[in-house]
């Protein structure tokens, strides 16, 4: 397996998906603002989509299922982004901040 033939193999795509997932988890834990966490969650979804597409090309007997899964993930991600951003706007209107450390009213 030479480095120029990587695009014909399954494992590099799975490693790319794992990389996106790891970056997303890091962003979700370490980010301080709600929008930063939303960006990181989009990375997690992209990682799972890459995994689905890789299995779709190399392993699955029916090569439409993975593509349909990716399309549905895109639709869910768009809906999730719209809802999350409207919640961010509502929170900003009430608290004048989107820092996670300012949104601690339920902490008691």
């Amino acid at each position: 397996m030479s480095i120029l033939n990587l695009y014909n193999c399954l494992e590099p795509y799975l490693v790319i998906g794992a990389l996106l997932f790891g970056f997303g988890i890091y962003g979700l834990v370490a980010r301080k603002t709600v929008i930063g966490m939303l960006i990181a969650s989009e990375l997690v979804l992209a990682g799972s989509s890459v995994n689905f597409m890789a299995f779709n090309r190399f392993l699955a007997p029916n090569p439409t299922i993975g593509q349909l899964f990716t399309l549905f993930i895109m639709a869910i991600a768009a809906a999730e982004a719209a809802i999350a951003i409207s919640i961010v706007v509502a929170v900003y209107r009430n608290y004048k901040s989107i820092d996670t450390e300012d949104l601690v009213d339920l902490q008691g």
Partner: protein, 183 residues
Amino acid sequence: MESVICQSAANPSFLSAEGFVGLIFLLTVGIIIFGAVIATMSRRLVRCVAGLALCFTGVAGVYYFLLSPFIAMMQMLIYVGAVSILIAFAIMMAEPEDHSGRSIKGSVLASPFGFSIGALFFAALSILALKTEWQSFPKQGSGDIEQLGKALLTTHTMVFELISIVLLMAIIGALVLARKGRS
């Protein structure tokens, strides 16, 4: 590595067409990594969104390499064209003005903790991907747009309808949530 599933076991040279395609694939992977680093580690949120758009562009290139130009086009349209712009609008509305290095959590523990968790997930998933003996099955059909449309409107009609309802509820819910505080 014996368990690697490769569609062709050739060893192309740098000057052949296959070698050039391999170089473009490596470039795409580099774009993804660069974009993901910017999206998670930049201090300013606007740069994070730019990195996210760059990363999604690279992912669209990977979809192209996975023989799905339709999904690659949808990735460009939905993620790069819609979701990133939406997040950019939200940042314009709600970004706090002070950028005194507080974008990453102030606690000393949070950033190394998050980094170790992310690195742990990446290492575990990569080892799992490289160690598993993947089994390939013979293909039925080519998976082009025609088959995609037929499967969407015959086998998966229920999911298609449900996702339309979810999107409708998302639209209505977003309008209600964003309008509530406005007098």
